[in-house]
C-alpha cells in the first residue's frame, strides 16, 4: 500500500457530494449520470466532474451506451483504505457466484 494511493483516496472521498455519489453506486449498483444527478443536489456537469474524480481514484468504472454513461462502484478501489478481511469477504462471495455460473455452463 502506497502513501500516494491512500492520499488520493482520502482526497477524493473528502468531498461529501462525491462520497454520497460513491455510496449510492455501492448500494444501488449501476446508474446513469442522469439518475445520479436527479438526487445529487448539484448540476449534471458537476456530477460528471465528481464521477471522473472517483474514476481516477479507482472507485468507480464507467461504460458508454450510445450517449448515455453508466457508472458502477468498484470495491477493489477501497483496498488501500479498507482492511483485507472486508475486501476478501466480498471477493470470495463474488467468485463463488462466478464458479457456480461456470459449473452450470460446463454442462452444456
Amino acid at each position: 500500500m502506497h502513501a500516494a494511493a491512500e492520499t488520493l483516496l482520502f482526497k477524493t472521498l473528502a468531498d461529501p457530494t462525491r462520497r454520497a455519489l460513491f455510496e449510492r453506486l455501492a448500494r444501488e449498483g449501476e446508474l446513469t449520470v442522469g439518475a445520479l444527478t436527479r438526487r445529487a443536489g448539484v448540476s449534471q456537469p458537476a456530477v460528471s466532474q465528481h464521477l471522473e474524480a472517483l474514476r481516477q481514484a479507482g472507485l468507480v468504472t464507467n461504460r458508454r451506451d450510445g450517449r448515455t454513461a453508466h457508472y458502477r462502484a468498484t470495491p477493489r478501489g477501497l483496498v488501500p483504505l479498507t482492511n483485507w478481511l472486508a475486501h476478501y469477504g466480498v471477493f470470495w462471495r463474488e467468485r463463488f457466484d462466478r464458479l457456480e455460473k461456470l459449473l452450470k455452463e460446463m454442462d452444456q
Binding site: 468498484t74 478501489g77 483504505l81 483485507w84 472486508a86 469477504g89 466480498v90 470470495w92 457456480e100
Partner: protein
C-alpha cells in the same frame, strides 16, 4: 469470519453446489477454467509449484497475487499460499484451503482463507479519528456489496 488462532483470522465461504466433486475439482485445478471464474493464472496442481493470479492493477495494489501449491488431494482438498505480491513484511501472507465433500445432490464446496494478521486490518495507519470513522463507513458499504 472465525478465529483460528489467538492472533490471526479467517474468512470462510461455503456452499452446496449441485455438481459432482470431479467437475468442481476441474474448475478448481484446470488453469483455463480457473481463469474463467477466479483470475488469469499459471496454476498447476503440483505441490511446490509457484504461480500467480493476475488482475487489473489498482491504486495501491499491483494486481498480482503470489501463490505456492501446498497440498493436492484429488477431488478432496487443495491448499495454496496467497500473498499480495509485496516483498515487505507488511505484505499479506494467507493460505487458501479448498475442501470438497460429496453430499446427496452435489458437492459441499468450502473455501477458507486463513492467516490474516491484526496488522492486515490496520491499513488506515496514521489516519486521524475522523478518517477512521470515514473508513469504518466505507467498510460497511464495501461489506454490503455483492
Amino acid at each position: 469470519m472465525t478465529d483460528t488462532a489467538a492472533s490471526t483470522q479467517s474468512i470462510v465461504e461455503e456452499r452446496l453446489m449441485p455438481h459432482p466433486p470431479v467437475k468442481v475439482w476441474r474448475a478448481l485445478t484446470q488453469s483455463t477454467l480457473l481463469a474463467q471464474w477466479l483470475m488469469p493464472n499459471d496454476f498447476k496442481p503440483e505441490v511446490g509449484h509457484r504461480f500467480a493470479f493476475r488482475s487489473q492493477p489498482q491504486p495501491g495494489w499491483t494486481g498480482v497475487t503470489n501463490c505456492e501449491v501446498k497440498i493436492v488431494e484429488p477431488l478432496r482438498r487443495l491448499v495454496y499460499s496467497w500473498g499480495d505480491g509485496s516483498e515487505t513484511d507488511s505484505g499479506l501472507k494467507t493460505v487458501v484451503t479448498w475442501t470438497l465433500t460429496p453430499e446427496a445432490g452435489g458437492t459441499r464446496v468450502r473455501m477458507e482463507q486463513s492467516g490474516f494478521r491484526p496488522q492486515d486490518e490496520a491499513a488506515h495507519r496514521g489516519a486521524g479519528y475522523g478518517w477512521r470513522r470515514l473508513v469504518a463507513g466505507l467498510e460497511r458499504v464495501a461489506g454490503e456489496l455483492q
